[in-house]
């Protein structure tokens, strides 16, 4: 683009044009070179996970080249996928994530609709509050939350600590504010005429939301869903604090606490578990990359 303009502006300097395009060709080559280096840096851990997952324990402790698999085996995969414990972690993670995503959407979508379309007393303050809540990290809240739930257990006899479903109550604090925030942005970008027309036609607010806003803002909804799922799937601190029994654990904590036994690290299985734990977000990302990136950038650009 820029070379062309220069060409027009200074037609007498034809010679320069050639050198500039050569410069660009070199710049391109360097770009690919450095990108390749960065890709190697970024992909080394996941690839190494995969390499290790194909090795037997004997090969892992052998003094051979660690970057290569000499005797590929699937024994780690078969060991994990037939272990009830591991399947239990996977099942817990899936259950928690799916329910949390559903809850998050049920809370965030109506709230975002109300905050973006129905002005009411305190709605601007609430929108700010939602954004601020998103900025509060979980590391600030885990201790008081732990104590709170322990006290609820003492007072009412409802045991919540060390039950996987306590995560259903806690995870929304991580997912709802962000999802509400980006849904506000998506809803606000819908032309006002659409919902006016609906209301004039006699649609209720609820109908406006389900018949117009949700279908029109579907890309935003998908982005928010992906976000909520990846956050719930990847969460490590809360399950580490709130659950301890092996049948209550979710994937990340389960892999770390059960596969690492004392000083004995069964690295083949740990890497296999880590890879399987990373698989659901990676698969979603592979298929819905554009939505994923839209959600990522929406947080700071939409609002």
């Amino acid at each position: 683009m820029s070379t062309m303009t220069i060409d027009k502006a200074a037609p007498t300097r034809k010679v320069k044009y050639g050198s500039m395009s050569r410069d660009r060709a070199w710049a391109l080559r360097w770009s690919y070179f450095f990108l390749a280096i960065f890709v190697i840096f970024f992909l080394t851990p996941p690839i190494y996970m995969f390499i290790t997952s194909l090795k037997s324990s004997a090969e892992i402790s052998a003094a051979t080249n660690p970057w290569w698999v000499f005797h590929p085996t699937l024994e780690n995969y078969s060991a994990l996928l037939t272990s009830n414990q591991f399947l239990r972690f996977f099942w817990n993670s899936a259950l928690v994530s799916i329910i949390v995503v559903t809850l998050t959407m049920l809370i965030a979508v109506p709230a975002a609709f109300a905050l973006s379309r129905m002005r009411f007393w305190g709605s601007a303050v609430l929108a700010t509050g939602v954004f601020l809540t998103y900025l509060i990290p979980e590391t600030l809240l885990f201790i008081p939350l732990f104590k709170m739930f322990a006290m609820i257990g003492d007072w009412t006899g409802i045991q919540l600590i060390n039950r996987w479903y306590v995560l259903l109550i806690i995870y929304p604090t991580l997912t709802v504010p962000f999802c509400t925030w980006i849904m506000i942005g998506y809803f606000a970008s819908i032309p006002k005429e659409l919902d006016e027309a609906a209301i004039i036609d006699g649609a209720s607010w609820f109908q406006t939301l389900t018949r117009i806003f949700i279908p029109v803002a579907l890309p935003g909804l998908i982005a928010a869903t992906i976000f909520a799922f990846t956050v719930s799937w990847a969460q490590f601190l809360y399950p580490l604090v709130f659950t301890t029994s092996t049948d209550q654990l979710v994937m990340p904590v389960g892999i770390i606490t059960t596969l690492i036994k004392g000083d004995v690290f069964n690295w083949g299985q740990i890497m296999t578990g880590a890879l399987l734990g990373a698989a659901p977000p990676l698969i979603i990302y592979a298929f819905l990359m554009d939505y994923y990136i839209a959600g990522l950038t929406a947080g700071a650009t939409k609002g």
Binding site: A114, M118, T128, I143, P252, F265
Partner: protein
Amino acid sequence: MQVGGPARFGTETHGECTMADVALQSSRTTAAQKARKRSGLQNVLKRKSTVAFLMTLPLILLILLLVIYPALYALHLATLNKSMQRFVGLSNFEFLFKRETFWLVVKQSCIFAITAVIFKALLGFIIAHFVHNIPAKGQRKWRGMLLVPWVIPPAMSTLAWLWLFDPSYSAFNYTLSFFGIGPIPWTGDALWARFSVILVNIWVGAPFFMIMYLAALKSVPDQLYEAAAIDGANWWQRIWYVTLPMMRNIIAITTLFSLIVTFANFDIVRILTAGGPLDHTHIFATWAFRVGIEGSDIPLGASVSLFMVPILAVAAVFILRDVNKRGNEA
């Protein structure tokens, strides 16, 4: 008091909003005429503000009960003694100030967050430029590969790093041994352990910066670069006088966001070093966990985590200001 999308939107379209209200109102009055004996409660339930309130009620409850209440409760907890039966005022904090480990944690948290954020931002900026440089149809593929560290749950990818850093089987040391570089104690030595946790954090976070900066780069109009090229600007001047000013807001917001997240990081340090060797890599979150949950001194743990608040608050204020500014510009 305007913040971002919703508030901005409200002022723009206030007039139309009332129009829709009128429409709703009229349909409601005819409905009311048809069913005169409808109770007052039902009318209240149909009012717009009531509907809106009910729609936001779960959100409000969630924020009040599970975010604001625990935050205040943390303040209360921090003033109790270990068995949580006696009010001790500020002596938890006094105790912390007298402990050497605490100051180590403060120092390490700052080093960790600031170094990691600077390098993430730099790396993200550089990579975004390289991706932006190559032809548009190849960009998707590269971007897809470069974002992978961000997609993998950090707890899982840190395990891979832990294995790469393994004292006896480190694949890095194996490779480095060919260059005559002795075995590096990645997580064993205080200095190297600090380096390692920062490295992993950069690895996880740089792709996020890359994506944000790439989006920002794409929004810079080409004409500006053309004009700069005509004026004879070199590549450095183009970055300094065109790219950076145009991206200033995105850079500021992304950096502040990342500062909050990095400062409050838990997963990476916990899994990679668990604070060791000799507490040299503890940051606020991991030390609060060690003291509060593992050491079951909940008040002291709460006090430790409260030290994150000032830094987070400052960052949050700046983010809000920037989001505001952007809202007004648009």
